[in-house]
Structures are given as C-alpha cells and as structure tokens.
Amino acid sequence: MDFSLNEEQLAIRNTCREFAEQEIKPRAEEMDRTGEFPYDLIRKMGELGLLGLPFPEEYGGAGADFLSYCIAIEEIARGDAAVAITMEAHTSLGAMPFYLFGTKEQKERYLPPLASGQQLWAFGMTEPEAGSDAGNPRTRAVLRDGHWHINGSKAFITNAGTDISGGVTITAVTGTRPDGRSEITNLIVPRGTPGYIIGNPYRKMGWRASDTRPLTFEDCQVPEENVLGQRGEGFKQFMQILDGGRVAIAALSVGLAQACLDEALSYAKQRRQFGQPISKFQAIQMKLADMAMEIELARLMYYKAAWLQMQGKPYSAEASMAKLFASETAKRAADQAVQIHGGYGFMDEYPVSRYWRNVKVNEIGEGTSEVQRLIIAKHLGC
C-alpha cells in the first residue's frame, strides 16, 4: 500500500494550489457579492488545461488520471467553491458523458472545444418534480421524421446559460421498456436549437458566481443521431456519471473544508482574548483538531474512491461514502470556523461567512446525503 502521490499528481496539486491562491482567492469575495460569472478566470483555466484534465490528448485533454483531476478540484475549491463547481460540473457532468458513452463521431465533434475550455457543457437531469427520483423524469422525447421532439423542463442546471455554453445533454423518457418501466435516453441539445429555452439564473444562497438555471423544452427538435451512445441507456449512463461526479464533489467539499480550517487556524492564532491568542485555549484547540482530523479522513476516502475508479474496480459505494462524509465534514468545518470567529464570522467581510453559505449545497447536489445513505445501505444488502 502506497499513500504517496506521484510526480504528476504532486505537480498538478501544487500548480492548482498556486493558481487558486494567486488568481481565485483574491476575487472570491467580489464574485460572491456580484454573482458575475468569471469569464476571464475560466478562460485562464482553459488555457492551463484545467477544463479537460482527465481526457486523453487526442481529444484535447491533458491526459491526467482521475485522482489528479479530483485533487485539482480540491485545490480550486480551496480558492472558491463557485469556480470549483463550474469546473466540476463542466468536466464530470458536461464533458465526461461524451467521453464515456459518446460515439467516435460525438467524441471528435464535442470533446475538443470542451477540453480546451472554449466551450462549457451542461448535464440536465434534475427536474422540478424529479430530484432524488431522477429515474422518473417527466421530460419526454418522441422520434418523428428523423427528429426527437422534446418537451419538458429541467431545474438547477449548472453551466447551461453562460456566453460560452455549447449546450446540454438531457435525460428524457423515450418509451416504455418491456418490464413496464420508462425507457430513458440521453439526448444532446446544442444551444440555439429552436424550442430550447434557457431561463434566468436563480438567486442562490451560495456558489453565486456559478451559472445555475432552469431549462425548458417546447417541441425542441434535435436530429435522431443526437442520442448519446445508445437509445435506452440513459439510466445506466447517468448512474455511472454520478458515481464519478460524487468523488469530484467529495474533493470539492474537502477543499472547502480545508479553506475553513486555514481561515479558522490563522484567525485563532492572531485573535487575542484574556491576554493570549485564542488558539491557546483548549476549547478552540479541540475544534481545530477535529476539523483537521475529519478533513484528512475525508481526503483519504475520496483518494480511495478515485483509486478504485482508476483500477477499473467497482466504486459506487465508496463514491457515496466519500461524498457523504466529505460534504458533512465540510459543513461541520464551516460551522466551527464561524464559531471560532465569533461575531466577526457572521460578517460578510470574513470569508468564513461565505464558506458557511457555500457549504450547504454540498449535502444536496449530485445526490443528497439521504440518497448517499440509501446507496450505501443498498450495498450492505438492505
């Protein structure tokens, strides 16, 4: 058993850490306040190859392994969660489905602009009435005269409405399977397709500079060949997409938790009460020690899940464990970081106030904590 990172993984971690520290963190407060999408940062990240990390060079990616990609997400999230979710949703949910399930033509056509960051891509699964019950979408697509006619709506979709969004891949019911259940197919809908309506951005509690919108499809027509991979494979495909996404979200949570510890530790060392820095009080030390311990454990769990993925072994339960533990760790870390800051932690000038707002959705997006527990229980044989 070897816990050390290899040369490339270390170099990617260090470069992302520097980039986050120098380019992202100084802008985080402003991005949160204005909610403006940071096009210049995303462009720079694209130039560095951060938006196509896990894809092979033949499709314009950097050819890094899955763990390197997750480590990069952790470091970017340490700078800002909104930037990290933009990168994560684009890579794990937008581009990855093309890479995993796309035909050769689809990969060649769609992946290069996504891997270079010229374009962002979204994945549309969640609906107003299909959240945790994602296997039951209301969106319907009917094949007529060589075209899919799509009707329905999607909710909380990341990266669909930026100026550089290329389109969205959506789940839609395309028929009934022999066992009576819905046949789900994933369809590729390029931006600009008539009937594909991108709604206004939501006003959000956190992740404010990321692009999140509702989408509507009104007799939206795409050619028959816009099926991702095979017809009827939608459910299987998105389960696999979500497994990978969960490891990346675990990494994002660890990055956010680490940022909470960084801030809390530095504040505790300089804030003086009763004649000494508050880091000298055991009440504060217990909090910091717990944060450090849980962060390390969460990090190890996402490393393990990523390692299993890279070995081609089953990792669904571990992905859920990593996502669940890391997001709950991050929530506790943010809570304690605010507590250590006292009244100042409630003020917007202090980053921990933003971290506290940013962290909540980590327990919801890409599968709620409750769904993660159900997945783990299923693997236990319940």
């Binding site: 490339e8 170099a11 470069t15 190859g49 196509g52 990390l53 060079e57 950097a62 050819g63 990069a72």
Partner: protein, 261 residues
C-alpha cells in the same frame, strides 16, 4: 536557435524563513521546502516567449545542484522548456560564484548555445555575479537588465532597464542576457506540460563528464570566503516633514537626492 536558461533551486521564499548557519555561514538548505527560484520562473517565461516567436528553436534549462534540483528542472519542463540538464556532483558542494560559473560554462560550452538567459540575481544568494562570470568563461558579450529581448538577424537586441527608463542595447550572438526582475509575467505550468514533463529529454552530468577537476570547484576551488555574518540594520524611522510652507520643496529635494525625480 539553441537557447539556454540557467536556473536554480532555492528554499521557498514564500514559506521558509531564511536562516544562516553560524558555523558554515551559509543559508540552511536542509529540512526546508525547495522550489524553482521564482525569479527564474519569469526568466523562463521570457525565454519561452522568445523561442515561440522565433520558431524552429529549442529551449534548454540547465542547473547545477544536488539531486533534488531535478524537481526544479521538472517544473521548468512543465512550464514549456524542451529539455533539461542537471550538473550534480558531490565535489560541487560549497561552490562559490567562480565555481558555479565555471561549471555552468563548461556544460554550456559543449552545447554551442546561441543565447543564454539568466536571472539578474538569485532570490536566495543575491550576488548577481554568476551571469557575468559565465559570459567571461565563455568569452561572450553580456547584455544585462533586459526588460524586452528580440533577435534581429545575428544580433540580440534588448531594452535595458535604467534608473530613468531604458536604453536599447545590441550585441552579436551568441550572448548571455540577464532579465530584469518583474519584466515578464510569470507563467504557470500547464496541465499538458506537467503530463509531458517526464517524457522530455533530461540529462545528468558529473564533473568528469565536463572535464573539470574537483580542485577547481566546490569547497576546494572556492576563492570567496564569508568572514562574518550579521543582522541587517533595522530600517530607520522615516523623516517627518512639518509643512511650514516649503514642504513641497523639501520633498522634491529629497526625491531628487535619491534620483527618484
């Protein structure tokens, strides 16, 4: 064109508090995190920019140091340098300016370079003398404090930073050029660069490869001797000028005396 850039691995100036060993009177380099000199990163950026604008050119990073210095060279490769040379030999420990320049020059000479980039000075030792000594050993002209560099035919043309602006200086190639700090924007290694760094040519040379005698370098060959070390004087308090109608004049005089006006 064959372009070279001399680089150095140093204790991380961002995280390490520099300490001097009172016995050896040298910077403590053990037990601290080591990085490619941030000053060298901008010099590399300058060299990459020139290589890309010239086309059909190769950029090689060269360093003298212990085995750990290969990490600094890998970073240079990840930033976009094409190949790297590390000169490492236990006999090189304790080299002064003369020994360092002699070693680097010996390695450079074998390569017939057209242009050699150096930072004006390192961020740890700050002597600023190695580039000049390399030029001297190689019998090449030296262009210093460049904030811009171009190659025109068989000449190198630079904008040389002065106290009031810049002067345009040119020299025939081959030449050694030092880059003024802060003149070029630092670049990050790209992800593709990191992934391909290990596949790029990397050679390691010892003293015998260079035909140098151990007595000429390292502790044995050092002509420099640090006699004593001491604390830098604390910064003196600023001067407060009370405005009695002539404050502007006093300030202008002060600025002029310090050649800031």
């Amino acid at each position: 064109m064959k372009i070279f850039v001399c680089v150095k691995q140093i204790p991380d100036p961002n995280t390490v508090e520099s300490k001097l060993d009172p016995a050896t009177k040298r910077l403590v380099r053990t037990g601290v995190s080591l990085v490619l000199d941030p000053g060298d990163e901008t010099t590399i950026a300058a060299a990459i920019k020139l290589r890309d604008s010239l086309g059909n050119s190769e950029l090689t990073a060269i360093s003298m140091g212990p085995a750990s210095a290969q990490e600094a060279l890998r970073r240079a490769l990840a930033m976009g340098v094409d190949r790297a040379i590390l000169i490492s030999d236990s006999a090189l420990a304790g080299s002064d300016v003369l020994g360092t320049a002699r070693t680097l020059a010996a390695a450079l000479k074998r390569e017939n370079p057209d242009l050699i980039f150096c930072s004006t000075e390192s961020t740890d030792g700050y002597t600023g003398m190695v580039p000049g000594a390399i030029a001297e050993f190689l019998g090449l002209p030296q262009l210093t404090f460049a904030r811009e560099i171009n190659v025109e035919g068989t000449k190198a043309v630079i904008k040389r930073v002065t106290q009031t602006g810049y002067e345009v200086v040119e020299s025939p190639l081959p030449a050694v050029v030092t880059i003024a700090s802060g003149s070029f924007e630092a670049i990050y290694p790209t992800m593709k660069g990191i992934m391909s760094a290990r596949k790029k040519p990397f050679s390691q040379l010892s003293l015998s490869d260079l035909g140098l005698d151990p007595s000429q370098v390292g502790e044995a060959g050092a002509r420099e001797q640090v006699l004593s070390i001491g604390k830098a004087e604390a910064r003196a308090a600023g001067q407060i000028i009370k405005d009695e109608g002539n404050a502007a004049e006093i300030i202008a005089d002060f600025l002029q005396r310090h050649q800031l006006l």
